[in-house]
Subunit: 252 residues, 2 copies
Amino acid sequence: MVKSAARLRLSPVQPGLCAKCPVRKFAAYSGVPASALKFLQSARSSDRIVPPRRNIFWEEKGADELFTLYDGWAFTFKLLADGRRQILEFLLPGSLIGMHALWFKAMPHSAQTLTSVSLCVFDKEKFRDLLRRKPEYERELLKYMTSSLAVRDRRLSDLGRRPAKERIARLILEIFGRLTARDMVDGHSFTFYPRQQHLADALGLTKVHVSRTLQVLRQEGLLELERDTATILDLKGLRELADYTETEASGW
Amino acid sequence: MVKSAARLRLSPVQPGLCAKCPVRKFAAYSGVPASALKFLQSARSSDRIVPPRRNIFWEEKGADELFTLYDGWAFTFKLLADGRRQILEFLLPGSLIGMHALWFKAMPHSAQTLTSVSLCVFDKEKFRDLLRRKPEYERELLKYMTSSLAVRDRRLSDLGRRPAKERIARLILEIFGRLTARDMVDGHSFTFYPRQQHLADALGLTKVHVSRTLQVLRQEGLLELERDTATILDLKGLRELADYTETEASGW
DNA sequence: CGGATTTTTGAAAACCATCAACGCGGGTGG
DNA sequence: CCACCCGCGTTGATGGTTTTCAAAAATCCG
């Protein structure tokens, strides 16, 4: 099963009509008013398939487009002068990518694919038109951004104040929650594309320490991470360890 | 001079007409269209003065109001179960506080004053009306939120990937930039209300380590922090150490 | 099967936390 | 006005978490 899911990434599902979009109820789309769908469709200038490990856009460069992720996994990140990387967000189907482009000349971060990915591409200007014509949608995006900021603040607390074990547990639980909302889990298992290096870069750790900490979590019977597959062995225990409340698991 | 500035906090400046508001060009207000001022004024249900070290609202509680900070310093933060604190953002005049209340039942963080503070208070429902009536303002807020998210992502990178010295340097430079935009600096000196414990909680460090690191920065002739006053001794050197580019210094 | 990527392991060191104590200074109350 | 108290910053000793460096083992992919 996992294998076939992984194989899927080689030819990602491609989007069709916005009105029938299956990811429409997720993330940035969750509140798109039906009346705006026509405009959303017309602002969508094209679709695009991007292979794994390719950048979608680059930090400090300009961008004329923004995207929604239709299928596949990706992430946003920043690079420091010495090459160290901080992953800011893992992008899942429904994620809106590159809003910054709407108003600013330079992107504040890069975006890169993890799997092969299919994107809905929106021309910057057309998207601005859409916002002007459909303030309800604009309002929905404002809500989406507010919620995104809250998620980012949780991660900030994790990096600032939690030890490695909790950081890892919480990130896995967060992704588990998002995937559950998308019906992309199989019981307590799910396909998981980030490598240990990605976890490290998202959590402010080194891959070595991530490796060691994952072993502890496995030995404690809480969590198992194999290549491309994560299995939560003890959800209750993991939540407890991670101090992860139910309310943290909704809405994006 | 510092003395008198500190004394000012005991009776903060109170707001008058939105149309003549001196902080209107900062942060959340920077793009308020003149046409929206009338509505902004009418959405403003009252003013409020809050003494130092008081919460403005509480994490996990609901809120019926949102605020803009008119005068004084404050910050937002989250508490962990064991009492550890993560400061998310320092709030300066012009900051919009508590947007989350517009759509969500529970606040994702708390807000607390550092000095005595004066707030413009907006009723949640009236503010929603304002957005409905003035989509230009709504659009401006969307831009503001986007930019806030980018700032948060910089801090995330700092916590994840930078050592204590750089974190401190960068936070000071960020605040210096924001204060400069507000004309609240005196050359390379400025009034600075956070204590070392606040820096620690914002940067994911302990107050002890902040103290030691500040001593190093002082000995290196880069930065001096006394009670209520910060002085940048060597701006160029500090920027270099902090890897702080000019573009990081604008727009919020 | 062979090369590349990813994960694991070990040893040593760096960075930062913890704990505890002391000093300084400002504000407050007697 | 002075003494006291409390918040805040400092200092030292010690320990833990995490990093670094290097290398080997495991896994994947073509």
